[in-house]
């Protein structure tokens, strides 16, 4: 037993040096020499400064969180950046189950609850604009209420309808249609109203970009053809033609637009 323990100590030390340090550092060296740009994070620059990584999504919103019309908008993100993490972004997903009201809203016959908390066949918070409305409480943070109880107070709009949680898929679809001038019942591409797994998806679908193009073109005074041309040149096809889905890189597309308008 003691002999095996001594050998084990030796083995752990040797293998830590080989599989840990030698292997990891050798690959770091190879990466630096052969693929320096990628190994260091695929940074993209604008005006000589690093403004992001072409692989890491970023948001194009103003300080109030509203979309900036002259930029294409990225997918929703559940990645978390707080001062507690020293401004490091922790990647991650919503982790909402497929029938969670925080994801799909209150869908009649699936997860709807009456005002007193009993199961209900209809959604008591529905309005013509959003039949799947999930109400929020009256606190400043406007926390969504998914388990209503008898005495609960809800935030209301001036017309008497409930204020809805803006982060459900139906609410995101409504906001998307308003933002890009679509009809009230227009179909919305799924990637535009769902959050990615990492919260850092750098891409949007081509269908999503095409819908956004007229709004961006108008805000910049460019022709639609110019903008769709840039969408094409910033689209990455499927790897090897078959693997995964084609995506439009939002960051490089927006930088290309900025470079165009500044000239």
């Amino acid at each position: 037993m003691r002999r095996q323990l001594l050998t084990a100590v030796g083995m752990v030390v040797v293998l830590t040096l080989v599989c840990g340090l030698a292997y990891g550092l050798a690959l770091t060296g190879i990466g630096e020499l052969a693929f320096g740009h990628q190994a260091n994070g695929s940074f993209v620059t604008k005006g000589g400064k690093d403004v992001g990584s072409s692989l890491i999504g970023q948001s194009f919103t103003d300080s109030n969180g509203n979309p900036i019309p002259k930029y294409f908008q990225a997918r929703s993100s559940d990645a978390v950046t707080t001062s507690a993490t020293g401004n490091i972004t922790v990647s991650g997903a919503s982790n909402y189950g497929p029938s969670n009201p925080l994801l799909i809203g209150f869908v009649p016959g699936v997860n709807t609850v009456g005002l007193n908390g009993d199961p209900s066949a209809t959604n008591p918070f529905a309005s013509p604009a959003d039949p799947f409305c999930v109400p929020v409480d009256t606190s400043k943070a406007a926390v969504p209420v998914t388990s209503p109880t008898a005495g609960q107070k809800y935030a209301k709009n001036s017309d008497g309808t409930y204020v809805c949680d803006p982060n459900t898929v139906p609410e995101r679809a409504i906001a998307y249609r308003t933002e890009f001038g679509l009809a009230a019942n227009a179909q919305v591409p799924v990637d535009a109203v769902t959050a990615s797994g990492s919260g850092l998806d750098p891409d949007i679908s081509i269908a999503n970009a095409d819908i956004q193009a007229p709004t961006v073109a108008k805000a910049r005074g460019l022709s639609l053809a110019t903008v769709t041309g840039l969408i094409k040149s910033n689209t990455t096809g499927r790897s090897l033609g078959v693997l995964g889905d084609p995506g439009v890189n939002v960051l490089t597309l927006n930088i290309a637009l900025d470079n165009l308008t500044q000239k």
Binding site: T7, L15, V18, N40, F43, V51, D201
Partner: protein, 570 residues
């Protein structure tokens, strides 16, 4: 859709090519005969043996072999624990990560030791680059190698005639790491870096984005760890989002490469088994059962995720798969991977004991998530973890010949070894251990008020989250239905126990069976022997695996994913 069909065929083709090549190569590595690359590897091995005082000619009995595995594991867990507790004072810590708290260090050390890689932390804000590279990545190599070593010991027990010894753990460990894992990992890592996975020792680079916000772009030795986490069926991501993070898997190509990496050794091990048994048909039968179960799982979950979430169609969200839109259930999934190949990845990862994810399990459709949990409940044999998949399947084979023997009144034999009471007791111990801890801890967790607070999604989905956690840790998978706050004292401890039981309470009976079978004399097959190298046996083997799981777990599956599917009108 047609691209996805081609992509699946590409993956199958890669496996059809790699399985015989890698399987035959590994058979040579394990039999100490001449192996390719001896000129380079022999001197390296001799150096390792000299430093550690190993006599490479000295073979071990099953007890010594088991003690070596346990001693190595004990030292590993202590080193990994200590490294996390002291990381603030060690090298390569440009982001100034603090020392990891004790309960989390324990959980993480056990998790990586047991090849589970359950993660109660987010890599971005918890682990220093030193801990990742010299601690976690090292366990990714050696825990995989230890699993393979135990499987090889079982093959030796089955194939040797009246032998007291099963080989030498230290030799097996060294040869697997240097000759199998490091070469494949190095090549794959270089491809990953070329595609955009990061590999550096920089601190987080703070930049100002185009719209004027501040954003931190992380650094780290990511690619090197990413490939071994897949190849060794470990699964612990460098970052919180695992292989969904663009710096871990930047393109559709890397997604497929990582998918192949986690399947290549488990399938090849079945080939190695046939080769070492000098009876390829035996290997084919095991391979057939593994491959069949794997494909069924993958082919069920892929269309489910491609079809999307039925509850958002009423809100006029288009989930159709077209040339310009990925479609499908995109919550928690990345565009570059697409919903269908994301489903293939997570199905592969739960079928092997990997547990890495490129999309969020919790947001899968109820039956899609149900398939992922079922893949793990099979006991990780389709094709399972590196080594652990093969030994799990060989234990199933012993049960299959026993049951077949009972049904038709034939003597249970496997590879000419009589299967008797001593072996069957150990087989039953092996089979009952995991369901026992899974169901017991799940039951306790859903009646204790404090542990109920960790559940994130209401209703049957919540039960699935708890069950998933215990199935995943006990089967050393490590993937999570992330909607469960696992970083509490109860879950840190209970999941830690499950991981240890799922590893060592299975490895020791396997080695005991290997020792007992190795001592037996081979008997030539007679007309009364049930042939085990046939398609019929492969079918029986797969059937036994499914029935054992079905009988054990059906009630909890019915109350979790199945009821959610029915009530949710999916």
């Amino acid at each position: 859709m047609s691209q996805n069909v081609i992509a699946v065929i590409v993956l199958i083709a890669m496996l059809v090519i790699s399985t015989p090549l890698l399987g035959s190569y590994m058979a040579k590595v394990f039999t100490n005969k001449k192996a390719p690359g001896d000129r380079f590897f022999k001197p390296v091995e001799r150096l390792v043996y000299r430093i550690t005082g190993v006599n490479p000619e000295g073979e071990q009995r099953w007890t010594t072999y088991a003690i070596s595995v346990l001693a190595f594991s004990l030292v590993s867990v202590l080193v990994l624990y200590g490294m996390q507790r002291l990381q603030a004072h060690l090298l390569f810590n440009p982001d100034h990560m603090a020392n990891v708290p004790a309960p989390l260090s324990f959980n993480t050390a056990v998790s990586f030791l047991t090849n589970t890689n359950w993660q109660n932390y987010a890599g971005e804000d918890t682990m220093s680059q030193f801990t990742q590279m010299a601690g976690l990545a090292v366990q990714n190599f050696v825990s995989a190698a230890a699993g393979i070593a135990v499987a090889v010991a079982l093959i030796r027990g089955l194939t040797r005639n009246r032998s007291n010894t099963l080989g030498n753990f230290w030799v097996d460990l060294t040869r697997i790491v240097t000759r199998v894992l490091i070469p494949i990992a190095t090549i794959a890592a270089i491809i990953l870096i070329a595609q955009g996975a990061v590999q550096n020792l920089h601190a987080t680079h703070m930049i100002t984005t185009v719209s004027g916000q501040s954003q931190g772009i992380p650094g780290g030795p990511v690619a090197s760890q990413e490939v071994i986490k897949q190849l060794g069926t470990n699964g612990g991501g460098y970052f919180n989002a695992n292989a969904g993070h663009p710096f871990e898997s930047p393109t559709g190509l890397t997604n497929m490469l990582l998918n192949w990496l986690l399947l290549c050794i488990p399938f090849a091990m079945a080939w190695t088994f046939g080769k070492m048994a000098k009876n390829r048909k035996q290997g084919y039968a095991v391979l057939g059962a593994m491959g069949g179960l794997f494909l069924i799982g993958a082919l069920v979950v892929m269309p489910l995720e491609g079809a999307g979430n039925i509850h958002i169609t009423q809100a006029n969200v288009s989930q159709a798969i077209t040339a310009t839109s990925p479609g499908g259930n995109m919550e928690g999934k990345e565009i570059r991977n697409g919903p269908v190949l994301s489903a293939l990845f997570n199905s592969s990862s739960t079928s092997t004991s990997t547990g890495s994810i490129d999309s969020a399990n919790d947001s899968y459709t109820p039956l899609g998530g149900g398939v992922l949990i079922f893949n793990m409940m099979l006991g990780e044999v389709s094709p399972g973890g590196t080594g652990s998949g093969l030994y799990g399947m060989l234990i199933m084979a012993l049960l299959a010949v026993f049951i077949a023997g009972l049904m038709v009144g034939r003597t249970p034999e496997y590879l000419g070894k009589k299967i008797q009471a001593a072996e069957m007791k150990l087989v039953v111990l092996y089979l009952l251990m995991v369901p026992f801890v899974v169901l017991m801890f799940t039951a306790i967790s859903v009646v204790m008020h404090s542990s109920l607070a960790s559940i994130y999604n209401p209703g049957p989905h919540g039960l699935t989250e708890v069950t998933y956690a215990f199935v995943s840790s006990s089967n050393n998978n490590g993937s999570a239905f992330a909607g469960l706050s696992g970083n509490t004292d109860w879950y840190n401890t209970a999941l830690g126990i499950c991981m240890l039981v799922g590893r060592f309470a299975l490895m020791v009976p396997v080695l005991a069976i290997a020792g007992s079978l190795g001592r037996k004399q081979k008997v030539p097959p007679t007309s009364g022997t049930f042939p085990t190298g046939t398609p019929l046996f492969a079918l029986l083997l797969a059937g036994i695996a499914v029935i054992v799981v079905g009988l054990t777990y059906f009630p909890v599956l019915a109350l979790g994913p199945i009821i959610e599917h029915l009530v949710g009108k999916f």
